[in-house]
Amino acid sequence: MNKPLAPTGLNLDEPLLWEMGKPGRTGFSMPRRDVEPFPLDDGLAGDGPDFPDLNEMGVVRHYTRLSQWNFGVDTGMYPLGSCTMKYNPKINEKCSQLKGFAGLHPMLPADMTQGALGLMLELERFLAEITGMDAVSLQPAAGAQGELAGMLLIHAYLKSRNVTRNKIIIPDTAHGTNPASAALCGYRPVRVKSGDQGILTPEAISEVMDEDTAGIMITNPNTLGLFEAHIKAISDIVHGKGGQVYCDGANMNAIMGMVHMGRSGVDVLHLNLHKTFSAPHGGGGPGSGPVCVANHLVPFLPVPRILEGNGIYSLSEDFPQSLGRLHSFFGNFGVMIKAYAYILSLGAAGLMKSSRLAVLNANYIKEKLKSAFHLPYDRPCMHECVFSDKIQREQKITTLDMAKRLMDFGFHPPTIYFPLVVDGAIMIEPTETESLEEIDRFIEAFRIVATEAAESPELLRGAPKRCRVERLDETLACRQPCLVG
């Protein structure tokens, strides 16, 4: 590597908003006052919030400078495992900003919103087709709300059959949000260990599945980046005892157009449009977490639902068995537009190629790094691979140290300390949009970090050195919480 370290650049200081400004400035073009003031009851009137007054350029400079302290997919490779940080196409952003979408009120008569309703219904059909499920609701606002929708669907389905169950099976390779989502439905998680191969065995499920268990929450591909090869057999066991199979589809990027979820025995699946379908993550949202279901769960989907008759779209709440409403309106339409545009841009062949390349990139990294890092499950992976710090721990270097050192090389670190089944986990998901050259640079940087761990560990413990700040004291933040200024 010719230039191993990120070169330093001009990095400007910037105070907090309220450390700037002067009363009387404004950054807003106030609309003309063309009506008289109307009296306001003194008892209701307040003094107004204590906001700083800034002018327009003050605001623009503030946020421009803050943005320069951030790292995004557009800045560089962001191999955060289970987050699918792929390229976010710019045309999709433009589509979501179109006036007819961005300015659309959700409570207009349906004949004024035909374009939006049509887009949503078509997206539902695309997602059903891509996953091999029968129907879709786009209402959940993010992955965790999609999981909640999945749990509520199972709850409503069992209730319709006069069945009450109290437990749900959650493997140790499931996503972190799963237990909390299940708990909202009153289900007590029953933890199951994955087998030696990093995937679930039908035997382990047989042991715990009983008539008080509502079903299983299975992440496939799982958080070790492995395909749950026994999913069909596991589904049969769960179904045999009257349970339902929920699949966390956050890792769908590995298998678009390759796997038929319905035929694999899945009853309900959630997707993350902000991962698999290229909508940007926004520094923590907004996302969109559609739920896809098999036919028998359709009556329980959230309302309102979109109907079509003679090419005319309408909304209906007339589904008496529905789990109810999950969102103020119909979900995150602004995000759906981007996913819709993405699918139309790629088509079936493009989506399948994307998954294949995502898997190729991950396997390539796995092969190239396994001599430098401990690879707990040495088998073909899907879209991500998981290493650990077992080798480096001998030098008292941790996953955290290595992650921080990677920053100095200009890469965002992988996901760390997850999944929990691997001690000191390093979970790398390159996605399909990274080129071979970029991946080679990443591999080389990570190998240098491994060498440094052995030869000059102080470099790692002192990292990062090239970021806006050095390592931050998270314990202090937690002990003396300062959440507002």
Binding site: T26, Y78, A180, V335, Y364, K368, T433
Partner: protein, 447 residues
């Protein structure tokens, strides 16, 4: 495909390193029974330019109601409000360092997002008059559901009282969240003046919290101070929700009036209506309940050199650590929308938000008084912000449809949710409506 960089040579070289013959061999761990028999049946891929045309056509179908004279004049609010958004905000949101970043798990590389969200939390707390605020939730409805769940955790009680003049969709979402856990909801009726009737509160036992919305669904400003006192006397938590945060530019904030938790929808603060989403779930509470809050929190700390910096904090409340005992299952929230709101609040400043809120109040009053003078009954005499309820004559539906053809939407008919309010319409006016617009509207209604 322009998003995929691999050349055939790249793929061949990589396959060799991986040790497989073909791309399909990469999927050897996927059993046959799980595989698709054929490719998904999707439309042929579009070029960038074809996509651009297609989307322009679709979005055009969504506004003009068969007319070509631009956006309709919509007098509906009800949870989504039309406000001017400064171009500087749209421009700044295009900074892809913000948009293409993940949740700031690695703080040293995410100080931009973290400081911006810390500032958002601060401005939110100041707007609502409380001590702490979180980094955002999905939307106003789920924020209210989370507030009620939080109140039940704090009090260990399983019953909450909900005002019947909270947005009907919010009440539906609350029911979805609370029902499966067997939690009980008591509905508080509406008084003749459009405010919530809590006189029956004393008769309800074991109540965790009372929740009202102000300005409420009818636009009426609730007497929060009186409600706050009642809650204190009955020893229940007081939750106030909102759909229009701009109101607190001129109204006394809920924190000053005894609210323990304040939550609602922040869409008005620089976020487009977007057919209802994404929005912004705003959430603030008293500091004593901080550790019971749902969602992400950004806190201030120091780096190794003693410099100020920001991190995600108090994570032991959250799903990835606490698992099933977490305060919420939320992970991804509405960070970029929170950023828009912070930019919007910063652009307005205290001077601006007071002036803008007052203009909204006065404009809505202008249309309300014009309609009153034109002979229509204004249903509630309580002071209101942006929205108000009008009773139109029984044959008004004909007028409503005639106005639609003129690209005017004469409010939201209320009988869907309130059967007793037949022929009543909820109307909304913001700073985007000129006096000339409103005069034209009244003239059309009368003609």
């Amino acid at each position: 495909m322009r998003y995929l960089p691999h050349t055939p040579e790249d793929m061949a070289a990589m396959l060799q390193v991986v040790g497989v013959e073909s791309m399909d061999d990469l999927f050897s761990t996927v059993p046959d029974e799980c595989r698709r028999r054929s490719a998904p049946d999707l439309p042929e891929p579009l070029t960038e330019w074809e996509l651009d045309d297609h989307m322009a056509t679709l979005s055009g179908k969504s506004t003009t109601h068969g007319h070509d004279d631009g956006a309709p004049m919509v007098f509906i609010g009800a949870g989504r409000y039309e406000h001017f958004i400064p171009e500087s905000i749209n421009y700044l949101l295009g900074r892809s360092e913000f948009t293409t970043a993940y949740t700031p798990y690695q703080p040293e590389m995410s100080q931009g997002t973290l400081q911006a969200i810390y500032e958002y939390q601060t401005l939110t707390a100041r707007l609502l008059g409380l001590e702490v605020a979180n980094a955002s939730l999905y939307d106003g409805a789920s924020a209210l559901a989370e507030a009620l769940l939080m109140a039940m955790r704090i009090t260990r009680k399983k019953k909450v009282a909900l005002s019947g003049v909270i947005h009907p969709h919010y009440r539906q979402v609350v029911q979805t969240y609370l029902d499966p856990a067997g939690l009980e909801i008591v509905l508080l009726p509406c008084l003749e003046n459009g405010r919530t009737d809590i006189s029956g509160l004393q008769d309800v036992e074991d109540l965790a919290a009372v929740a009202v919305q102000s300005p409420n669904f009818f636009g009426c400003i609730e007497d929060l101070a009186a409600l706050g006192n009642m809650c204190r006397e009955n020893d229940v938590l007081f939750i106030t929700a909102f759909t229009e945060p701009l109101a607190y530019g001129i109204l006394k904030n809920p924190g000053l009036q005894g609210a323990h938790i304040v939550c609602g929808e922040g869409q008005s603060l620089g976020i487009p209506r977007w057919f209802g989403g994404p929005g912004l779930g705003m959430f603030a509470c008293k500091r004593q309940y901080m550790r019971n809050m749902p969602g992400r929190l950004v806190g201030q700390t120091l780096d190794k050199q003693g410099r100020r910096g920001f991190v995600l904090t108090l994570a032991t409340r959250e799903q990835h650590i606490r698992r099933e005992k977490a305060t919420s299952n939320i992970c991804t929230n509405s960070s970029l929308c929170a950023l828009s709101a912070a930019m919007y609040m910063a652009s307005l400043g205290r001077t601006g938000i007071r002036e803008l809120a007052r203009l909204n109040y006065d404009k809505a009053a202008y249309l309300r008084e014009s309609l009153r003078q034109a002979g229509f009954r204004i249903r509630f005499d309580t002071p209101c912000f942006n929205e108000f309820v009008v009773e139109f004559p029984p044959d008004f539906e004909l007028t409503y449809n005639r106005l639609l053809k003129k690209n005017m939407v004469a409010g939201l008919p209320l009988s869907t949710w309130y059967p007793e309010l037949k022929h009543h319409y909820l109307l909304c006016v913001t700073e985007t409506r000129s006096r000339a617009d409103m005069d034209a509207f009244v003239k059309e209604v009368l003609s």
